[in-house]
């Protein structure tokens, strides 16, 4: 009897043990499948700069602490033969806002420059391209069937990858203002300016960008974004005190092309934003551009590549009927062409206005399509 009891005990123990091993193997397999997907995101997409390219440098040239980190990123210089001003274009501050990144890429791959200098950072937060936000259910990639080649781009996260900057504090204290924000905003590049040379990785990136602007005497600096259609600052040009005048004039010119923009002043009391801190820590005229992007909104329905590229969504259609949106929205959606097109036209118009007001600092770029062209021909035409 005792013998049998013991035997059963051992058997039960064995079964528990075996089942434990079995569950661990199942978890291991699930973990490996997921790990494979997560690691793919570290492969950087190749960009094909136009012949106007004169130099590629890295953000680590402006903040050496970034060397050998995922925060390092390429900086593309396009110098012309005639003297003029310097324009900086930042794409990919938030890699979940694809129109910002694609606009920078499209200019980079097509532009010719007649006057002045253009600097492009297509992946401003390189680390944020290597992962997706949990619980957002967003795609990792999207494909554009370009006429030159098929292009696969990554759709990343709004913030730096945790594997590059972890743990987050419970509360993010912005340097140097001491402003408090939710802890994970500590990984948001557009809350990190002016940054610190030896701060956390995101602050290091912000510092590098400020250094670049100052060392290269950037006159006009763009930060390209997208926002949810229900967000009040959308289809907007955000300008600081210094850039207000050219932004207002450009907005009026854009209105003639039926491109309506709201003008938003850079708030004095909200720190860490590019336009706020570029105004205060550099000599550049900062401009931030927003388009409406349903795939990052909270009201969106099915989240997939089609939503990313077409912006068509029955849920947003309902939201528009309910008057919840700050942009016109109908069954046509807001396609990637519309969003990239708005950015392109705004950039070109603002550069033109700037060049008219400051002729000795003029910058002239050509071979970059405007809104009309890209909407009628499709984005594929330019890749």
């Amino acid at each position: 009897m005792v013998q049998k009891y013991k035997y059963n005990q051992i058997k039960i123990k064995n079964i528990e043990f075996m089942f434990g091993v079995f569950t661990l193997i199942v978890s291991l397999m699930i973990g490996m499948i997921a790990a494979d997907k997560f690691q793919e995101m570290h492969e950087t997409e190749t960009l094909y700069p136009s012949y106007a390219l004169t130099e590629i440098s890295h953000l680590s040239d402006y903040n050496p602490n970034l060397k050998n980190t995922n925060g390092n990123t390429e900086i593309y210089f396009f110098n012309s033969d005639s003297a003029g001003g310097t324009v900086l274009i930042l794409g990919g501050t938030h890699p979940n806002e694809p129109a910002g990144f694609l606009t920078a890429c499209l200019i980079l791959e097509n532009l010719q420059i007649k006057r002045g200098r253009l600097i492009i950072i297509p992946r401003a937060n390189n680390s944020a391209f290597t992962h997706n936000d949990p619980q957002e259910g967003q795609p990792q990639y999207y494909t554009i069937e370009g006429i030159k080649r098929e292009r696969i781009f990554r759709f990343g996260s709004r913030i730096t990858n945790s594997i590059d900057q972890w743990p987050d504090p419970e509360i993010y204290l912005h340097y140097p203002s001491g402003q408090k924000l939710a802890g994970n905003e500590t990984r948001n590049l557009n809350r990190a300016y002016p940054g610190r040379a030896d701060g956390n990785l995101t602050e290091q990136m912000a510092y590098g960008i400020i250094e670049l602007i100052n060392k290269k005497n950037v006159d006009l600096a763009f930060d390209l974004h997208e926002a949810a259609p229900e967000y009040p600052v959308v289809n907007a040009i955000v300008a600081s005190e210094r850039s207000q005048l050219i932004a207002t004039e450009a907005a009026m010119e854009l209105q003639f092309e039926d491109l309506i923009y709201s003008m938003e002043p850079s708030p004095y009391n909200f720190h860490g934003l590019s336009h706020r801190e570029w105004q205060d820590y550099t000599q550049a005229m900062p401009i931030l551009l927003e388009t409406a992007n349903p795939i990052q909104g909270r009201l969106r329905g099915k989240t997939d590549v089609s939503l990313l590229l077409t912006g068509r969504d029955p849920m947003y259609l309902k939201a528009a009927e309910l008057g919840e949106l700050h942009v016109p929205y109908d069954s046509a959606g807001i396609s990637i062409e519309v969003r990239v097109g708005r950015h392109l036209s705004a950039i070109k118009t603002i550069i033109d206005v700037y060049s008219n007001i400051y002729p000795d600092k003029a910058v002239e770029i050509i071979n970059v399509p405007d809104y009309e062209e890209i909407v009628s021909k499709g984005i594929e035409e330019y890749f």
């Binding site: 089942f19 434990g20 569950t23 661990l24 978890s27 997921a34 997560f38 690691q39 972890w166 743990p167």
Partner: protein
């Protein structure tokens, strides 16, 4: 950087506890729960996600 190493040590401790728990839970479903819960912790420890 130092903080990251400390948190990885905390992760190792929690992973060991959870791994041990996989064999100590009385119900098979709780064993499975513990095993599944390990996935994100191990992926973070290995700095994959």
């Amino acid at each position: 950087m130092l903080l990251k190493i400390i948190y990885q040590l905390i992760l190792i401790f929690i992973i060991l506890l959870m791994g041990y728990d996989v064999f100590k839970e009385k119900s098979a479903w709780l064993q499975l729960t513990a095993a599944l819960a390990l996935i994100p912790f191990v992926l973070r420890l290995l700095m994959i996600k």
